[in-house]
Amino acid sequence: MKFPADQNILIIVPAYNEEKSISSTLSQLSEIKEELPVIDVCVINDGSKDNTSKIVKQYPDVILIDLPLNLGIGGAVQTGYKYAHRHGYSIAIQFDADGQHSAEDLTKLIQPIMDGEADMVIGSRFVQKTSYKGSLARRIGIYYFYLILKALTKQSFTDPTSGYRAKNANVIKLFANHYPKDYPEPEVLIQLYKKGFKSKEVTVNMNDRQEGESSITPLKTIYYMGKVTLAIFMQKIVRSKTI
């Protein structure tokens, strides 16, 4: 894959207590960076209590942003968009630190943005059949959000909670200013729909989590789904600010 010289890409890796998996994720991304030097990797350490920050410092090419407090996923990822916006990156990609996302799929996410087909590209486990299994509860949950988002946006998002996404400069600018704090992944879909941005899904492979705990434990699923549903509907009625 060839990149025009004016394209530069930032990979945003939010990390909270990820000392066990962060280094394999960063090694994977460093390999990609060797092939594609236009890529920069930026880790947002969201106030981790473990050695995440120390481990990241061993990678001199990786940009490390240390948040002094734990802001939660929304606030952490937004820091990455602020960085991307200020340093003029044309594409930003969110990449999980826990080894769920595979770096090989990066080009698949980037291509539709380079071609101008979409403003945001979502890596989905469910467009085509992949090896991803996941628990039944999780798949039911994902289907439930699929139905709600379909009703609200008339678009199909087969994997609305996937955090593996690429965005172009316009979306980066929007996110640098306004990014949902609570459950950003599904909420963003509504936000972009309201602003008239185009989203597109591509198939990616995801591994089951390697280390660390998922932010969503099975016991909390129902509670989580209720809260996310509320957040999605709120996002729908929230007044859109102009930038």
């Binding site: 940009i63 942003i65 002094p68 407090l69 802001l71 937004q78 820091t79 602020k82 960085y83």
Partner: protein, 121 residues
């Protein structure tokens, strides 16, 4: 002493605390406004027995002073809601500030490493 008078004294005492807090700079003036309004409204209502009786009659409330509790409750809800809004506002500011601080520190770290390298050469 009747309940209306007791209510008035409690509210008046509270009003003094609010004013004193502002005077000592513990409570910001702009945050005291809602409290002062609530105190005045409740204070006047607890003294205006006739008005309270009439309202109670219109609303079908048997014991008029219980209306004071109703208004007190409404006022509390308004104050609590106002507080939650202010907390949300503070939270967004804190997030923005934390992000700015982290971005700034990254910038200054980069500068420092660059200078160290230059000094070595």
């Amino acid at each position: 002493m009747s309940i209306t008078l007791v209510s008035f004294f409690i509210i008046f005492f509270f009003f003094l605390i609010v004013i004193e807090s502002v005077r000592r700079g513990i409570l910001e003036t702009k945050y005291s406004i809602l409290w002062i309004i609530v105190c005045i409204v409740l204070g006047v209502m607890s003294l205006a027995t006739d008005f309270l009786e009439q309202m109670a009659y219109l609303l079908g409330v048997v014991y008029a002073p219980s209306l004071l509790f109703l208004f007190g409750l409404i006022a509390s809800l308004i104050l609590i809601f106002d507080l939650t809004r202010r907390i949300s506002n503070l939270n967004s500011r804190l997030i923005a500030l934390t992000q700015e601080y982290a971005l700034f520190r990254e910038e200054s770290n980069k500068e420092m490493t660059k200078q160290e390298k230059e000094n070595e050469q």
